[in-house]
């Protein structure tokens, strides 16, 4: 539904809002000029952050309102949505301080650059591009915006490593001894061959790093840069990965609990569609600040990850069923998360509540016993098998492996790696 390029200034091509400038974007059947479109998206972001908490604070001096001002963490995930949220938040803060001489920012913003598998050079390049775009270090300091670089490698290497195994009988084991220590995030991710499993564990590492930073730096409010389309993909991705109960906890709830601390998680762009995000960054001229992998169209179905397939699906039905994305997010927000009672076991890997013993559930559905031999030839085959290396090599779980509880989503993701094993940093 996008209108590419500039329109002529004829009557019917004028912006539907200001009626002054030419239409540049047609979104949701409405015509917008550049300024009105940017405002349209920013209003959507502010609607999600309405309330006194983030409102402009008035006071004679900064110290007067310091205690009332909340510290807000914004993990910058190197996506187009991250650029849009950064722009919208910074613009909002600028607007707040310019309201009057006694006006102060409504929140102290920390932008946490979380590159994960991105090369450090690209991360630093993006940081400096953003800094210079928004008036340099001085201006950012004036607006109480700080840039922090997440050091994923230190996070990985400062902890030990474990090896998780899932047997053919779906039992999960953990080996703590003699496991090669993971040094970098790149090394960790390169151990996971399956793209869907890699995405799954990348999300967990991302959540753990954000949670860890929040705890260490005492942040209790976090804004996450996900558009409506990205949230719809996540919803289907959780469903397809067997973690349906997580939808309510992640998308349906505004708070999350971690180590008896409660965090407020907001998705300010949950009403903004992906094509609007892309148009916004195009209009702002920031789209080049991050390099998103867009080579998906060339991949075959079998080499795509779950998220890529789901994203492609939404793209394919966008024309005929444009409401599908918003419908999915709407229903996701109506789902409840798992009960967070203390007596529930937690997954050793993702730290989420484990419901309905996944091992028992899957084993109840799959018979793993064959039919015994019934004639001479079959008995002979069985004898040859028992003597062969196949029988000896078949799945050997080390003696020191400890039985552990993991959730269904992690179990499926580990089994999909091909080797049914995962080297995982020992997060505390």
């Amino acid at each position: 539904m996008e209108l590419y390029g500039m329109c002529s200034g004829e009557q019917e091509d004028l912006c539907g809002r200001c009626r002054k400038h030419a239409t540049i974007v047609v979104s949701r059947k409405e015509h917008f000029c550049k300024d009105c479109f940017l405002k349209f998206i920013r209003v959507k972001q502010r609607k999600q952050m309405k309330g006194d908490l983030y409102k402009v604070k008035f006071g004679k001096s900064e110290d007067e309102i310091k205690n009332k001002t909340v510290n807000l963490l914004f993990p910058f995930l190197f996506t187009q949505s991250s650029l849009v949220l950064a722009d919208a938040l910074i613009y909002w803060l600028k607007e707040q301080v310019s309201m009057s001489s006694k006006a102060h920012v409504g929140f102290y913003l920390t932008i946490f650059f979380l590159g994960l598998d991105k090369p450090l050079e690209n991360v630093k390049q993006c940081m400096s591009s953003l800094e210079s775009r928004y008036g340099g270090a001085e201006m950012l300091e004036e607006l109480h915006i700080s840039f922090t670089l997440a050091d994923g490698d230190t996070f990985i290497s400062s902890n030990g490593s474990q090896e998780y195994l899932v047997s053919t009988a779906n039992e999960a084991f953990c080996i703590n001894e003699n496991v090669p220590k993971l040094k970098t995030l790149h090394e960790f991710f390169s151990n996971i061959g399956n793209p869907s499993s890699k995405e799954y564990f990348m999300d967990i590492v991302k959540d753990l790093i954000i949670g860890d930073y929040c705890l260490k730096k005492h942040f209790s409010h976090v804004v996450l840069p996900y558009s409506m389309s990205e949230l719809a993909i996540s919803t289907l991705s959780y469903t397809v990965g067997g973690s349906g109960e997580r939808i309510g906890a992640v998308i349906g709830s505004k708070t999350r609990e971690e180590n008896s601390n409660t965090f407020d998680f907001l998705y300010p762009l949950r009403d903004v569609l992906q094509y609007e995000i892309e148009k916004y960054t195009d209009l702002c001229g920031t789209s080049g600040f991050v390099n998103e992998n867009k080579g998906n169209a060339l991949k075959s179905v079998r080499s795509k990850s779950m998220n890529e397939l789901i994203g492609g699906y939404f793209g394919s039905i966008q024309g005929e069923y444009p409401e599908a994305v918003s419908t999915v997010v709407k229903i996701a927000s109506k789902l409840s998360g798992p009960p967070n009672k203390k007596d529930f076991k937690k997954c050793q890997i993702c730290h989420n509540v484990v419901l309905d013993d996944p091992e028992r559930w899957i084993n109840g559905l799959t018979v793993l016993e064959g039919v015994p031999p019934s004639n001479e030839e079959e008995i002979e085959n069985l004898r040859r098998y028992k003597e062969s290396s196949f029988a000896k090599e078949k799945e050997c779980i080390p003696k020191d492996a400890e039985r552990v509880t993991i959730c269904y989503g992690c179990m499926v993701a580990i089994k999909s790696t091909g080797s049914s094993c995962l080297y995982w940093p020992t997060f505390v």
Binding site: V240, Y313, S336, G370
Partner: protein, 372 residues
């Protein structure tokens, strides 16, 4: 030396499964469907010799594996596959306590692969485990020329093959409309909506005619997973929590419905039908396009090709879906809709009855009566 006896092609249009049968071994045309890898990678079957140990079934280790199980990609022999398939259905039936001894059960039979396999498996398990069930085939004739008339011929053959009584109920008898007539009036796009409403009622009425209060249908794991995705994509809050219920029984409904194939993969049902040489009809309904459901099905097949377990994973997710508790509506108890004709709304309670036909309905007039 080549050892061909028979050489013919079979085709299951829905799964795009194409292959050959050579010496009773099904060999899939690999480029067409790579996920199903069968006995040999070429169409040449060599002279028999001792089976290589690496080619033995992963469960019994004594017979040659002839297939990869779509569910978990295990290499299995034909004997083990049939055994585990039946055992898993039996486990589902006993775990969910679907039947009780002496119960009469109608099998919704369309002549297609799912219902044919369901009839065969139900008969086998009923005899093997002595469920003590009285099984009856119940078919619905929607009145689709060139589709249903041919599939009903298959059901009639099944009646003789399984020794079960057969009851056929037609839309024409019940509603005085055939699907062909409905489509001629309303167009093809909404055909499945009408047909779904009518079929559900027709099955219930057919069962009650036989004095039966339990119908089993051939809905498989793929159908269940597809329903979970569709309920999400359509935002169907009314159905999201029970997308994957194995049994459905509304308050006041005289007929219970169960889906013993809830966890059985569609591909495995086709393979079971093939290995047991079951007689089934494999053409899709003339009016089946179902645009939106079709897109969800394509997505599901793509996901399955990337991760075979995704069908079960989606069902698992569907079982975990819970809606947030809804706040009580203000004055909910006091408000009552008074219609133009002076009648009062029954509210959206379970167990209401249609004012015209007396069938279960949440509205004053059921959907089946509205067109008339």
């Amino acid at each position: 030396m080549l050892n061909f006896v028979k050489f013919f092609r079979i085709r299951d249009k829905r799964l795009r499964l194409v292959g050959w049968i050579v010496h009773n071994t099904f060999i899939v045309d690999k480029p067409r469907l790579r996920t199903l890898e069968f006995a040999a990678s070429s169409t040449i079957v060599k002279m028999k010799g001792p089976v290589k140990v690496g080619a033995l079934c992963e469960l019994c280790h004594c017979r040659k594996a002839v297939m990869r199980r779509p569910k978990n990609l295990q290499k299995l022999c034909k004997v083990c596959f049939i055994a585990v398939f039946e055992e898993e259905i039996h486990n589902t039936i006993t775990r969910e306590k679907l039947f009780h001894r002496g119960e009469s059960v109608a099998i919704g039979a369309s002549g297609g692969k799912d219902s044919t396999v369901l009839a065969a498996v139900m008969k086998t398990l009923n005899e093997r485990y002595d469920y003590g069930l009285h099984l009856v085939l119940l078919s619905i004739d929607e009145g689709i020329v060139g589709y249903r008339d041919d599939s009903l011929a298959t059901v009639k053959r099944n009646r003789a093959q399984y020794g079960m009584p057969l009851e056929i109920v037609s839309y024409k008898q019940l509603y005085d409309w055939t699907m062909d007539e409905i489509v001629a009036c309303t167009g093809i796009k909404s055909s499945c909506t009408y047909c779904g409403v009518f079929r559900r009622q027709a099955l219930d009425r057919g069962a009650l005619k036989l004095g039966i209060h339990h119908i089993v249908t051939g809905h498989n794991a793929d159908d269940m997973a597809e329903t979970v995705l569709l309920n999400l994509l359509r935002g169907d809050t009314a159905r999201i929590e029970r997308s994957v219920s194995i049994s459905t029984n509304s308050t006041g409904s005289p007929v219970k419905r169960s889906k013993p194939f809830k966890y059985a993969y569609e591909k495995e049902i086709v393979l079971y039908a093939h290995y047991r040489k079951l007689d089934y009809f494999s053409t899709e309904c003339t009016y089946s396009p179902q645009a939106f459901r079709g897109t969800a099905r394509t997505l599901l097949k793509n996901l399955e090709s990337v991760r075979p377990s995704s069908i079960l994973d989606i069902i698992r997710s569907g079982e975990q879906f819970r809606l947030k508790p809804r706040g009580k509506k203000r004055n909910a108890n006091r408000e009552m809709e008074v219609r133009a004709d002076g009648s009062v709304s029954l509210g959206n309670r379970d167990g209401n009855r249609c004012e015209r036909c007396g069938y279960l309905s949440t509205n004053r007039i059921c959907k089946a009566c509205i067109p008339s």
